[in-house]
């Protein structure tokens, strides 16, 4: 009896010692996630990594960025007391800059990891790789384009920060790099990938993926920033080859609710209640009850829309439109089906119009705007071509390009004769305002032209007390959020804001 117990005890001890010394028992073998070593085995896996490169577009192309590019320009303002709208941005109050910084860099990290993963994959056929890598590289360029426009000089890297701890720390210790250098580097990279991407209109690429047109557009935009006019012209000519004449595209196709039309170069895809932005809440006449919007019944907008304080066009933007310009009543809303809204009707029909139907979202559920967000389209490319050609002293190209845009609005608007380089540039700035208001770019154009402070001082600031009080030249770029300055241990700085 006693012996049996001793054996039992010894048995237990042996079992324990065996398990105790078995290192396999403590090995971690995850069963519910993958890592980059066991991923990138097939083309489908690589594509799913490329899909992730698009994720952060939803965190960027929405009301925040619209406000930071359009309602803080010479064309409109928003008087809801927010930080950005009243130019209260500072490192302490980074406004929307914080979210955009974080989202764009997360997008960049994912793009870099995707590119590295596909490059290093031994099982994906080499000839399949360029198109996949190109897509990620163009997306990366887009994120950097946004960052350099918003913040100016920013940290720049194309290595895979997720590869190792050391790689991560290397990126963590990067300071600001010249935006000009970054753009040159990106232009070179895009020149490498654009040729391997689909050379067709964005609307014809399956599944709304991106192709060569976005690459050329980004080359053109960044070339304008860097004043490399020839590089821009070259890229815009490539787009002209793909898109042909502007006259074939209807003006109504530029409305946000009309998705993925042929003129489009890049749209962020929104749909239903799955993916929604909140842009239209600040672009729709105020709804009090039912389907009555500022005194006018608009059945198509429905009865469940939430409207916040809407953007107000500046007197300057209002003055740009000729009454016969069809863009006037789509960009601005004075009336709906002939009935005047209360706001423009006030003060003897001199009140402010609302943002126009181009931006409205029919039957919006609360704040859920499901219109696609229009980022780039062919008319923009033509105006960029006109601008670059004018700077390169090529009036013929410049005149043809601007007149395509003007003629589509009204054939009577075309410039009969070249007005001279400076006058042409001024006209181009106005034409960009008429054609592209509300398409995520006006403030960046002003900054690029060096006009930001003077133009906003002369327009929005003259109408809004808070802007008059707060506006400073350094507001052309957003500050790096103070949290990022702190996290970097002071490597990132905000020299402009700290004067």
């Amino acid at each position: 009896m006693k012996q049996i117990k001793i054996y039992a005890l010894a048995g237990l001890a042996i079992v324990g010692l065996t398990i105790g010394s078995c290192t396999k028992f403590l090995e971690e073998k995850p069963q519910s996630f993958l890592n980059s070593d066991n991923f990138y085995q097939t083309e489908a896996q690589a594509l799913s990594a490329v899909n992730a490169c698009y994720l952060k577009l939803y965190n960027i192309y929405r009301g925040d960025l619209m406000m930071a590019t359009e309602y803080t320009s010479d064309l409109s303002y928003l008087t809801n007391g927010g930080v950005d709208q009243s130019f209260g941005m500072s490192p302490s109050n980074p406004g929307v800059g914080d979210g955009i910084w974080t989202s764009a860099y997360n997008g960049i990290m994912v793009c870099n990891a995707t590119i590295a993963g596909i490059q290093h994959s031994a099982s994906i056929a080499e000839e399949k790789k360029p198109a996949l890598i190109g897509e990620a590289a163009i997306m990366r360029a887009l994120y950097y384009y946004i960052l350099t426009c918003m913040f100016g000089d920013v940290p720049y890297y194309t290595s895979d920060a997720s590869a190792s701890f050391d790689a991560l720390m290397e990126v963590a210790q990067m300071g600001r790099m010249s935006a000009v250098v970054i753009r040159d580097s990106l232009i070179a990279d895009l020149h490498k990938w654009a040729p391997v991407m689909p050379q067709t209109k964005s609307s014809s690429i399956a599944d709304n993926r991106i192709g060569a047109p976005l690459a050329y557009m980004l080359i053109g935009k960044m070339a304008l920033w860097n004043k490399k006019w020839d590089v821009c012209i070259d890229a815009m000519q490539k787009l002209k080859d793909i898109y042909g004449a502007l006259s074939q595209y209807a003006l109504t196709d530029t409305w946000f609710r009309n998705r993925n039309k042929a003129e489009s170069i890049f749209e962020v895809q929104y749909s239903g209640t799955i993916k929604i932005s909140n842009v239209a809440t600040q672009m729709t006449p105020a709804r009090a009850s039912g389907a009555v919007y500022d005194g006018v019944t608009i059945t198509q907008l429905g009865t469940t829309t939430t409207t916040f304080t809407a953007a107000t066009p500046t007197d300057y933007l209002m003055s740009l439109y000729n009454d016969t310009d069809p863009r006037k009543n789509t960009t601005l809303a004075y009336t709906y089906e002939g009935v005047w809204f209360n706001r423009p009707k006030s003060n003897n029909f001199t009140g402010k119009p609302w943002p126009g139907p181009k931006f409205w979202c029919p039957n919006m559920s609360l704040q859920q705007d499901n219109n696609n967000q229009k980022v780039f389209r062919f008319a923009d490319a033509l105006l960029m071509l006109a601008e670059a050609a004018n700077e390169m002293n090529d009036p013929a190209t410049a005149m043809d390009a601007i007149n395509q845009v003007k003629a589509r609005a009204n054939t009577g608007f075309v410039l009969a004769a070249y007005p001279g380089k400076d006058a042409f540039r001024e006209e181009l700035k106005k034409e960009r305002a008429r054609e592209l208001f509300g398409e995520y770019g006006r403030k960046w154009d002003l900054v690029r032209w060096g006009d930001f402070y003077t133009r906003v001082s002369a327009t929005a600031a003259a109408e809004v007390d808070a802007i008059q009080t707060n506006l400073r030249p350094y507001h052309e770029y957003y500050p790096v959020p103070q949290t990022e300055v702190d996290r970097s241990g002071g490597i990132l700085t905000n020299d402009a804001y700290n004067q």
Partner: protein, 1041 residues
């Protein structure tokens, strides 16, 4: 003040008593010897001579078992009591003392069964007599807890254990608790103590899984000498809970039936603006909207006649109620010589004070012990707990979801429409918007959390040869949490999108095998030796499935018929499985010489799967000594009942980080970008490999003193300690340019030092009347000693604005320091602003705040810039002193028990102030905002003017978190039914109990004793919208038969 007075009074009382005792002196003595059943002399037996109920003299036997009681009256009649732990008390009645009294010979017999009076304290993998303890261990008297009408163990314990701080994550019925024993050590890993219930680690997930009436004893292991035996798990202290076992009553079975009925209500309300005051605030905003024209006609103002609005909507009262509470429990225990059992069941139903919230729970337990033979004993423990928590109100926030939170919706927003339906229009939501105002949530939404915990354990104890005991146990526990939430289509926000459901199923299990062999012997005279070796193997599985969907046709079936989704794109599914394993070897050596000199040494070697491949194993050693000074000859006539000194040192570890943290990881989503209207899967990096991830280690030094006076009427335990934690598992914030916001690393050092005092004092100990008091006090100071190269680790930021650090770690600062800007009042006029451009004394958040009436802060470095260089430490969330005071009065069969707990000197951040103390028009404001700046009406005020939400954390929102709480009070009477019912019934106890009856505080929020960061490692005292702790009144009846 009150506390000081009480202390003084206590001290005064026992000094007077000491004087009285020394006065008595006569001349007669009685001598004797005490032996055990085998005839060996018994040392340390307490011998007391009593007259009636009064103790006249007492002593302890020496090594030879002999004693001598002096100073007794000649010819006096005494009763002699000889008592010793583990033995039946021997009583010799009516001894008349003669001048030459013959020596007595007493034989004590071993007590069987009833161990209730033996002060045995559970320590890791065993138990020791309290007198033999080498470490710092606190134990709780369960009888103090029995009349407390709380359904939660943590609420019973708060303030009763020196050095343990209990805090509710919030006051909702059924919500969790966060416990810190001797402060916080780790910054990122878990800081919650290890719970060991009936020897099973990780068997419970939450103290709520236990039925308070099942608990027999609770020990809290605090120093490294006691916790090191738990190695990797012990760094945060260990709470050992033992449930009741059956008691051999020779076949008789005891029944205890108990019920509590009561109600809970809000302990207080925030002092917020009424509609008139709020309307005036909005009018101020209109006044300030245009700098050019400030003379506008009254009728143009948003509220031309604020006074006509009166009080408006009182959302706090509309959402709260007096909520009923009931509890029923039955316990059966008994057994015979070989078999003992304890079976219990309980049911609780508690309605929450917030509308729609409810908690229901039932629990069962069976404990069975069987003596198999002379050599073996076995037993099982099975417990099951099932709870259902309804919490439909989502937002109690200080600023989270301010548009629908019950403390922030403005009083000008009506609760009901004129037709009696619920109003959904929040006029203050920017320019107005349809909102799920609080009553919608409370009445329409479903949010049910169902938790099931099964714990089972079998053990066998074998004594194969003399002096050797082997113990083996296997336990299996299973923990299921199912959450089911439905936002019906009738909710305003779902009007067009339709209903939305979300469900999650979590199943965790835990298999643990523990084996120990103990050898115990006594050599020579007084060399007591005990050695233990053990090994344990543990496997824990974590499974999770989450499903969410929206747009179902029917609200009734949406939650359960999840497959019936009209649009498959709106169905989201995710899942995970994780496995965690641990292996440990442990050894302990106990030695004492003549119960005077004690030595304990332990060593544990732990392996844990969740560290990097080469860092999985670590050693955790400890050693402790105790000196029972009282047993020295020179202390013979000291008159003390106990006097011992303890010293210990040791290392324990922390592995409480989640699984797979050292591996690189790709995450997948199917709710990503829309490609052609579909959302194909997207994979992206979400974790980086970290081959360096290793154990965090804490070394603790402890010195303790146990003192007992006046025949144990006054017991004092004092401990002082210092602990150093290194290789902190630290979640370091990364610059987000890396694409990651933080990562887990080992670095940095923290330290804790503190002092803990427990005093138990029987102020009056008479047969008819008793008054006993117990007081605990603890002081703990925790510092960050080193934070490596990063300089500062941010743990909590305000989520708006620049997201400035509110809490974080900086070397040389307290661990729980609160940071922010120093408030400098408001700008009074433009001249001040212009002058400041030269002086650089103040800064404001941005150019928009450089206007009269808006906030300015001290420019600490006078550089004219506002940035983190101007941040200072505003306070420390840790209290200077905290503890509790229990007073129990007994008169015959009646008792009164009053328990206070207190905390002095901590600070608390009130984040709600960012919204409701800055005059923002979006939500209601604290009443103090009535005195805000206005250039005409109130130009001298330093409270910001309307519309001044600048998103800057500052000391305006930091409050003293000190409090003094009447935590529990009960009054009761026990009827002895034995005679009345001819022993059919034993007793009926009736009591009336109150909980959280009074709270004195300086804090502007509901209660300073909440922490909405849940069990967050780092954050203590964060109140970002919590369900405030209730006040409860309960009537309890308990029948025993």
């Amino acid at each position: 003040m009150k506390i000081q007075k009480m202390l003084f009074r206590t001290l005064f009382t026992f000094f007077s008593l000491a004087v009285a005792l020394n006065a008595a002196a006569q001349s007669a003595q009685v001598k004797g010897t005490v032996l055990d059943e085998q005839g060996n002399p018994l040392e340390m037996v307490s011998v007391v001579a009593r007259q009636g109920r009064a103790d006249m003299a007492s002593t302890l036997t020496n090594k030879e078992g002999s004693f001598s009681l002096d100073n007794l009256n000649q010819d006096g009649t005494y009763d002699l009591y000889c008592s010793y732990v583990g033995y039946e008390t021997y009583i010799e009645k009516n001894v008349v003392l003669k001048k030459t009294q013959s020596a007595l010979l007493v034989r004590l017999v071993n007590k069987t069964g009833d161990l209730e009076k033996v002060e045995v304290v559970a320590v890791g993998y065993g138990s020791v007599r309290k007198r033999d303890l080498t470490g710092a261990v606190s134990s709780v008297k369960v009888q103090d807890l029995e009349n407390i009408p709380v359904p939660r163990v943590d609420q019973m314990l708060a303030g009763r254990i020196a050095g343990a701080e209990f805090m509710s994550t919030d006051g909702a019925p059924g919500s969790g608790t966060t416990v810190r024993i001797r402060g916080t050590r780790s910054i990122s890993a878990d800081n919650e103590p290890l719970y060991v219930v009936d020897g099973v680690m990780d068997g419970i997930n939450n103290l709520n899984d236990l039925n308070p009436s099942d608990i027999a004893s609770i020990s809290v292991l605090k120093d490294a000498s006691s916790t090191a035996i738990y190695g990797s798990r012990g760094a945060n202290g260990v709470i050992i809970i033992t449930t009741k076992s059956g008691i051999s009553k020779n076949g008789k079975t005891d029944f205890t039936v108990r019920t509590s009925q009561g109600f809970a209500k809000m302990a207080g309300y925030l002092d917020l603006m009424d509609a008139t005051e709020f309307a005036q605030l909005i009018n101020d905003r209109y006044y300030y909207a245009s700098a050019a024209n400030r003379t506008k006609p009254l009728e143009d103002y948003p509220y031309p006649d604020p006074l006509s609005l009166g009080g408006g909507s009182d959302w706090q009262h509309a959402l709260t109620r007096s909520a009923p509470f009931s509890n029923y429990s039955l316990a059966v225990s008994g057994g015979n010589k070989n078999t003992r059992f304890f079976i219990s069941g309980g049911y609780d139903k508690i309605a929450g004070v917030i509308l729609g919230s409810e908690f229901k729970r039932y629990q069962f337990r069976t404990n069975l012990d069987q003596t198999l033979s002379k050599y073996a004993k076995a037993g099982i423990r099975i417990a099951y707990s099932n709870s259902t928590q309804e919490q439909p109100m989502r937002y109690l926030g200080a600023y989270n979801n301010w548009s629908v939170s019950f403390v922030s919706v403005a009083p000008v927003v009506p609760i009901y429409n004129p037709d009696g339906t619920l109003n959904s229009w929040n006029s203050q939501n920017y320019s107005g918007g349809v909102s799920d105002l609080p009553l919608f949530d409370a009445t329409l939404r479903k949010n049910t959390t169902q938790t099931g915990t099964l714990t089972s354990m079998v053990y066998v104890d074998i004594t194969p040869i003399k002096n050797v005991m082997a113990h083996a146990s296997i336990s299996y526990s299973k923990y299921d949490i199912n959450n089911n939430a439905l936002v019906p289509s009738t909710m305003p926000s779902r009007a067009t999108a339709g209903n939305a459901t979300s469900k999650s199923i979590n199943q965790n299990d835990n298999l643990l095998n523990e084996n120990t062999v103990t050898y115990k012997n006594t050599f020579g005279t007084g060399h007591n030796f005990e050695a233990m070796y053990g090994f344990t193997v543990q496997m824990r599985n974590f499974y999770r499935v989450s499903i969410s969907g929206s747009g179902y046709y029917s609200d009734e079936t949406a939650l359960w018929d999840i497959g019936s989704i009209p649009d498959k794109q709106k169905l989201n599914v995710s899942g995970a499985k994780e496995l965690q394993t641990r292996v440990s070897h442990l050894a302990r050596l106990n030695y004492n010489y003549a119960r005077k000199y004690y030595l304990t040494a332990t060593l544990r070697r732990d392996g844990a799967s969740n560290f990097a491949a080469n860092n999985k194993w670590a050693y955790f050693p400890s050693a402790a000594v105790r000196w029972n000074v009282l047993n020295e000859n020179f202390m013979k006539n000291s008159g003390l009942s106990d006097f011992a000194v303890r010293l210990s040192a040791g290392t324990s570890g922390n592995d409480a980080i989640s699984r797979y943290q050292s591996l690189s990881r790709l995450s997948a989503t199917t709710s990503g970008y829309l490609f052609g209207g579909a959302q194909p899967v997207a994979f992206y990096p979400s974790g980086i490999a970290n081959a360096g991830l290793k154990w965090e280690k804490t070394t603790t030094y402890n010195a303790g003193l146990d003192l007992s006076l006046f025949r144990k009427r006054l017991e004092v335990t004092l401990d002082a300690y210092k602990s150093n934690t290194s290789d902190l598992l630290l979640s370091v914030q990364m610059p987000t340019q890396t694409g990651f916001s933080s990562r887990l690393m080992n670095f940095g050092k923290t330290s804790n030092k503190g002092i803990e005092l427990t005093i138990n004092y029987d102020v009056i100990r008479k047969s008819d009347f008793g008054w006993s008091a117990s007081f605990t006090a603890a002081h703990n100071q925790q510092m960050v000693d080193d934070i490596g190269l990063v300089g500062r680790v941010v743990t909590n930021t305000y989520t708006y604005g620049a997201q400035y650090m509110i809490n974080g770690y900086q070397a040389g600062y307290p661990l729980n320091a609160i940071y922010g800007f120093e408030y400098g009042g408001v700008w009074k006029n433009q001249d001040e602003i212009i002058q400041n451009q030269i002086d650089k004394k103040y800064v404001s958040a941005s150019a928009a705040y450089l206007v009269p009436g808006r906030q300015r802060y001290i420019d600490q470095n006078n550089d004219g810039l506002m940035n983190s260089d101007d941040m200072i430490m505003l306070g420390d969330a840790d209290p200077d002193l905290y503890g509790g005071l229990q007073n129990t009065f007994r008169y015959k069969n009646a008792f009164l028990s009053i328990f206070f707990n207190y905390s002095v000197g901590g600070d608390m951040y009130y984040p709600g102030g960012m919204f409701n103390m800055t005059g923002v028009y979006l939500n209601n404001q604290q009443e103090l905002m009535v005195n805000r700046y206005h250039e005409v009406r109130n130009p001298d005020s330093d409270i910001p003017r309307t519309d001044s939400k600048d998103d800057i954390p500052n000391d305006r929102f930091v409050y003293d978190a000190s409090f003094f709480r009447l935590k529990a009070a009960s009054i009761g009477y026990t009827f002895d039914l034995t005679k009345l019912t001819a022993s059919k019934l034993r007793s009926l106890a009736l009591s009336l109990n109150g909980n959280n009856l009074l709270l004195l505080k300086n804090y502007i929020g509901y209660d300073p004793e909440v922490n909405t960061s849940g069990t967050s490692s780092t954050l203590r005292r964060v109140d970002n919208g919590s369900f405030p702790p209730n006040r409860t009144i309960t009537f309890t009846a308990e029948l025993k038969f």
